[in-house]
């Protein structure tokens, strides 16, 4: 049976992204190390994303609490609200929502930036200037995304829990210490570690896909736009696929 063209295109694309990722491990991690550019990218990718991650995390915590509270009141377990919120945020909502916001902001930005540099021959100019553009542009951005997303997730989780605390306090007066104690009493090592580990994979996928789409961008403004767009779409899909695999693996390992 002939393979449908769309399927073939998808498989080709998957193969190309995998080769690109392999290139990162074979070339990107060898000297010469672009430490200065890596730190610059950590600042741009990490620090500059914090306000957006913080704001969305805060709103998410607040809304989640306000939505959950009426249901818990019906079953008479309102006191378990910090426990539920804590587990939901730390295990799933925090990492996934942060990664999706990160993919929207950073994936598109990397795709558009590298796409634009490709179209305007800046990548060629870099190569002519004795610089390996893969190391300078790709390796630094992928590494920065991989390292910064876990940090942003931890901070995002904290802000999300603060939003949740304020949500609880809209209707009742709850001590912050009590709220936090209840949250952390419900969490175990098996909740924190897998959630944190998967954010490294989310970050790596967002970085690699953004760079791949930008690096192989088609010429013209439409090409750059498509690179940015498809970087976000593909990264978002990859986040859910990695999340699904992570859940299966933690389940097999008995960490759930």
């Amino acid at each position: 049976m002939p393979i449908l063209p769309k399927t073939q295109q998808f498989l080709n694309e998957t193969g190309s992204v995998s080769r690109f990722a392999g290139h990162f491990f074979s070339i990107g991690v060898k000297p010469r190390y672009e430490i200065r550019e890596l730190l610059t990218q950590c600042y741009i990718i990490g620090y500059r994303s914090l306000p957006l991650i913080g704001l969305t995390g805060f709103i998410m915590g607040l809304v989640l609490t306000m939505q959950l509270r009426p249901s818990l009141i019906i079953y008479g377990v309102e006191s378990k609200l910090p426990v539920m919120i804590g587990i939901a945020i730390v295990r799933e909502i925090g990492p996934v929502i942060t990664a999706l916001i990160f993919a929207g902001k950073i994936g598109s930005s990397i795709g558009a930036e590298l796409g634009s540099m490709k179209v305007t021959e800046q990548i060629d100019a870099m190569e002519v200037s004795g610089t390996n553009p893969f190391k300078y542009l790709v390796a630094t951005r992928v590494l920065a995304a991989t390292l910064m997303l876990p940090v942003l997730t931890i901070l995002g989780d904290a802000i999300c829990l603060f939003g949740s605390y304020l949500g609880v306090n809209i209707h009742t007066v709850t001590n912050y210490k009590l709220f936090i104690t209840q949250v952390f009493q419900s969490l175990s090592f098996g909740d924190l570690l897998p959630a944190l580990i998967k954010t490294f994979f989310f970050g790596f996928a967002i970085g690699i896909i953004g760079c791949y789409k930008g690096y192989y961008s088609n010429k013209g403004t439409r090409g750059v736009g498509n690179s940015a767009n498809s970087a976000v779409v593909l990264s978002s899909v990859m986040i859910f696929i990695i999340d699904l695999l992570a859940v299966q693996i933690t389940d097999v390992l008995g960490l759930n």
């Binding site: 100019a125 870099m126 200037s129 004795g130």
Partner: protein, 258 residues
């Protein structure tokens, strides 16, 4: 004029004989599209060679092969006596530090200031420069193109002519022995284009460089060429002086003057 051969620099009146770039039987195709087909060319020290050809004739592909951005399918491409397609990445970097490339669209890094754009090649070519030397070279390069006042400006703040001058300054900053120009005057008004032509000649005389200039702007050809090569069907169709081309009865040449 000769067909399918190269005039030596002596024949066109320059007392220079040392070949810097020797291209023999160069072939390059993309899929079924043959761009360069048995192309031959020799460029001598301190010679300005203009490659003339229609759009899509493979001129840009040729100079990208020379600087190692593209790999030819077959043939020899000797620069400073070394076969470029066979060089390792590090060897290619070493050769590139002696070559400059002026991109058609300037290719200035738009996230960097003019100063950072000019510093970039100085810091990347494994050559140790002190900060004092870097500052001096940046100022000298900008002085050469008359744009010292733009040193802390972003590329987006500059006009088309200024961008081209800054790109030229960046190309010249390592004082290369060979400069490859990809359509240096395309998209510029005639006055600015003439200024760029003058700059190319002035800087060539100052630093004794050899150049390959890709162009179909006949004013640029007239102002800059020691020798003109017509690239047609992937081959060196003919070469000669600008005067030879101007007076030629060949219809393939005449069309550039119409």
């Amino acid at each position: 004029m000769k067909n399918e051969t190269n005039l030596s620099a002596k024949q066109i009146g320059k007392h220079i004989t040392e070949p810097i770039i020797v291209i023999e039987h160069l072939c390059k195709k993309f899929g079924s599209n043959v761009v360069l087909n048995d192309f031959n060319l020799t460029v001598y020290k301190e010679e300005n060679v203009v490659i003339l050809g229609k759009s899509g004739s493979g001129k840009s592909v040729l100079i990208k092969c020379i600087i190692g951005l593209l790999k030819p399918d077959s043939g020899n491409l000797m620069v400073f006596g070394e076969n470029v397609p066979q060089l390792s990445h590090d060897e290619l970097d070493r050769i590139r530090s002696k070559m400059g490339f002026l991109f058609q669209g300037n290719a200035l890094y738009d996230s960097m200031t003019v100063r950072e754009n000019l510093e970039f090649p100085l810091r990347r070519h494994w050559i140790d420069f002190s900060q004092k030397e870097v500052d001096a070279l940046v100022l000298e390069a900008l002085d050469n193109v008359g744009l010292i006042h733009t040193i802390d400006m972003m590329p987006a703040e500059l006009s088309g002519g200024m961008l081209k001058r800054v790109a030229l300054a960046r190309t010249m900053i390592l004082k290369p022995d060979v400069i490859l120009y990809d359509e240096p005057t395309t998209g510029l008004d005639p006055v600015t284009a003439r200024e760029i032509d003058t700059l190319i000649i002035t800087l060539q005389k100052k630093y004794h460089t050899s150049s390959i200039i890709i162009s179909h702007d006949m004013n640029c050809v007239k102002n800059t060429a020691d020798r003109v090569v017509l690239l047609l069907d992937g081959k060196c169709y003919t070469d000669g002086s600008y005067r030879d081309f101007e007076t030629s009865a060949d219809k393939n040449i005449k069309q550039f003057f119409e």
